[in-house]
Amino acid sequence: MLLLAVSMIASLSIGSAGLSFADVWGILIHQLPGMPDAADKWTAGEIAIVTQVRLSRVWLDVLVGACLALAGAGFQGVLRNPLADPYTLGVASGSSVGAAFIILTGMQLALGLWTIPIVAFSTGILTLLAVIWLSRSNGVMQIETIILSGVIIQSFLGAFVSLMVSMSQGVVNQILFWIMGSLAMRSWEHVYMMIPFIVVALPILLYFSPSLNLFTLGERHASHLGVKVERTKLIVMIVSTLLTAAAVSVSGVIGFVGLVVPHLIRLLVGPDYRLIIPLAGIGGGIFMLWADTLARTVLSPKELPLGVVTALIGAPFFAFLLHRRMKVEGGAKH
């Protein structure tokens, strides 16, 4: 929590507009009720950069990161597969098809600013329904079948996205950029849209976290202890998918956060989902915040695709932790 707050403060102060640390905080403090108007010390543009652009973006970073990491923890819990991530069930490719179609046909403004998020969210959810329908037999969903169905849907829809990319000429970059993920040019409305998802999903996932602990022993062990296995799987997967679809519809496909953050938390605190779930949310927020801060400052004023940054810093960091843990555990055995 503390680390999250410190990261948010630091990230707020870093940016391409050339405002100093004191300027940023001066502007923020003047926004509090009862303080004198900030307009006489800073220009309207400077105030807008801090309160409209940066502050909302920092919050959006935290929320998108938290959503993806929570969803990843949820999927890893029910699927008991270390490679499971928020995109295992093909949600990202479903959303991408929707977004790519909108960009290709130039209908970005058909429903106002929200066209791409709404369409991407809907096609993402439709993909989940398709995967559940594919993998269900006699009311039972086998984990292997779920993962396979996800892979099949993902490659099928991925082909559609590639098809649309190749069909479009001038707008190729736009589709690819959406797929690579970015949180630039978002607003407070996007933040407000994300909040209900976290507020609803976090308590649900926490409620199921003791059951997810029993899942680590195997589905049969869990069912012998009274866990309603199929219901738990379905609810956790739906909640995780909603989180993923919400994040993807706002930010595009940002890889690695949902896969790596839950593993990082697991390496740090052990296998207990009652700790992993809340800490993955916080950790995802911190991770995304720093990744996005790098994305918008390294080649400033040009922005790097966020998905590229998360993978570039996430993979080596994860490899380092994994290697260190193997050394520690190997040493303890001898």
């Binding site: 022993l217 009274g226 207990d272």
Partner: protein, 260 residues
């Protein structure tokens, strides 16, 4: 306390495995289910545990169909030691034993009485005190089986179902495990049903045996009634010689090689 299966059928992937099995189990008894490979012993145990539904027929616990009982209510009364034991997870021994309390917890994870004393007792009974902060993946197969049993003790069931509990254990661990279960069964008047491969072990520990053959019950009764060379040859196609155990007097079977 009685567990009753009525005309249970089981069909696995289109093949009929169990055919109209009716059998009842009473409190304070140790039952053994025996029979050749693939005869459906584990399938019957899964159906008795309520985790798998039969294709036809049903199982009742004190007259209540298992399919009508909420999972946690059933898990307070009935515990299962699964075939293959516990997987090598990263939880500590104590954390895994504490998982046995799950059916007694409310939705907030709390319970009426203090679970720590119950968990302590299970850990001490299974002589796991020194291992309790070790992680499961650091233990041997035999030690993990002791943890599995301690977890069942923390669950405080009245019915215990064991699916081939001695497979992959050496004879020392086999005797140790069954001695512990037997002592626990006597102390708490438990109803125990165990699927066992080793007929001589079954004879040593079980009050009653149920022999499955070709989807039905081929023989049912005390070890003296069931374990005779004629029944065994019909079940397994193997020739055996019957002797009385010199210390306890229960029947023991000695294998006889085929004629070459």
């Amino acid at each position: 306390m009685s567990l009753v299966a009525q005309q249970v059928d089981a069909v696995l992937q289109g093949v009929s495995v169990l055919n109209s099995i009716s059998v009842s189990f009473e409190r304070n008894r140790f039952y053994g289910i025996i029979g050749p490979n693939g005869v459906g012993k584990s399938t019957l145990l899964h159906i008795l545990s309520g985790s798998d539904a039969p294709s036809a027929g049903g199982v009742t616990l004190d007259g209540v169909p298992l399919s009508h009982m909420p999972g946690k209510i059933l898990a307070r009364k009935l515990a299962v030691l699964q075939q293959g034991g516990l997987p090598p997870v990263g939880f500590t021994v104590r954390e895994v034993v504490a998982m046995g309390r799950y059916p007694h917890q409310n939705w907030l994870g709390g319970e009426g009485e203090d679970p720590e004393a119950i968990i302590d007792e299970a850990i001490h009974t299974m002589e796991l005190a020194e291992l309790q902060s070790r992680k499961l993946h650091q233990l041997s197969g035999g030690e993990r089986q002791r943890v599995a049993l301690a977890k069942l003790m923390a669950q405080q069931p009245e019915i215990l179902l064991l699916d081939e509990p001695t497979t992959y254990l050496d004879i020392g661990y086999q005797i140790e495990l069954l001695d512990t279960v037997k002592a626990w069964q006597k102390q708490r008047s438990l109803l125990v049903v165990a699927v066992l491969h080793d007929l001589n072990l079954a004879s040593l520990y079980c009050d009653k045996l149920i022999a499955l053959h070709r989807g039905g019950i081929a023989a049912e009764g005390t070890p003296d009634e069931v374990l005779n060379p004629a029944v065994i040859e019909r079940l397994y196609g193997a020739k055996t010689t019957l002797v009385k155990h010199p210390a306890t007097g229960v029947p023991q079977l000695i294998l006889q090689p085929g004629e070459s």
